[in-house]
């Protein structure tokens, strides 16, 4: 019983950690004006989601195979890497076009 209690504490701590990392990622995306800083925030958010998937796969008994959470996290990880590559390519194109990494500089569509 005390064992389960201890696991429960660890579970809450881990969930709170992933939530805080997610919130800080949102803050980085919202407050950074540098486009690369925004990408860093997106990476933070994806990582916290991965952490959450692994936590639930590890601690929940309802999932048939405990490895499934890890497989989902694996997919997200691969997509995150592809996303980072595409994002940096877009930022390079942005710099060529507008001469700045400032996200506010790309205001061509602004009415």
């Amino acid at each position: 019983m005390s064992r389960a209690r201890g696991s429960n504490v660890v579970l809450s701590v881990l969930l709170i950690v992933s939530t805080l990392i997610f919130g800080l990622g949102i803050l980085a995306v919202v407050t950074r004006r540098n486009a690369i800083g925004m990408l860093l925030g997106i990476e933070l958010m994806l990582n916290s989601v991965n952490l959450n998937l692994v936590i639930f796969g590890r601690f929940s008994e309802r999932i048939a195979d405990p490895l499934e959470g890890q497989v989902y996290a694996l997919f997200i990880m691969a997509l995150a890497v592809a996303e980072a590559a595409v994002g940096l390519a877009l930022i390079l194109a942005l710099v060529r076009k507008f001469g700045s990494v400032d996200a506010d500089a790309a205001g061509t569509l602004k009415g």
Binding site: S7, I16, I21, E43, A82, A84
Partner: protein, 173 residues
Amino acid sequence: MGVSSGQTAAFLVLSLLAISGAFYTAFANKLFHSVLALLLTLGSIAGLYFMMGAEFLGVLQILLYMGGVVVLFVFGIMLTPARDEDRLPPMVKWHMVAIIGVGLLTTFLVFIFYYYTGQFWHEIRITPRITYDKMFQDISALLTDKFLVPFEVLSVAILVALIGALYVARKRE
């Protein structure tokens, strides 16, 4: 998992490192410091994976994120014109709004998690320590059996992303 006090302490230390790294990533003035703090966060999360028995993901996290994505970001920073002063004075008011809003959202989520770990988890029950004899075989069996279609779609998506990145970043005449 057999939760000894040493393990709990390691969990707490890794969690603190991850949170402080994420904090510095969001608020560092110099972008390069921000990337280094992201490295710290990624490493702590890899450590948490190891402690949760997800060694495969921990190794991948170190290889892909700490080895690949961070290098990509450093190259991105070096290839773009320097602009360290991220936050100009006129934006500060809206930054406060953003910080308060995200703070409220995060508190709400933490409250939900904390509340439900009291009730919900009795129902879900915590699995005892799982020992994987052949985790790598099991994961590859899952990938080639149950998750075969998403796996193939994922490889096509990565191929398209790579070609698209090259196309977008090419030099135009």
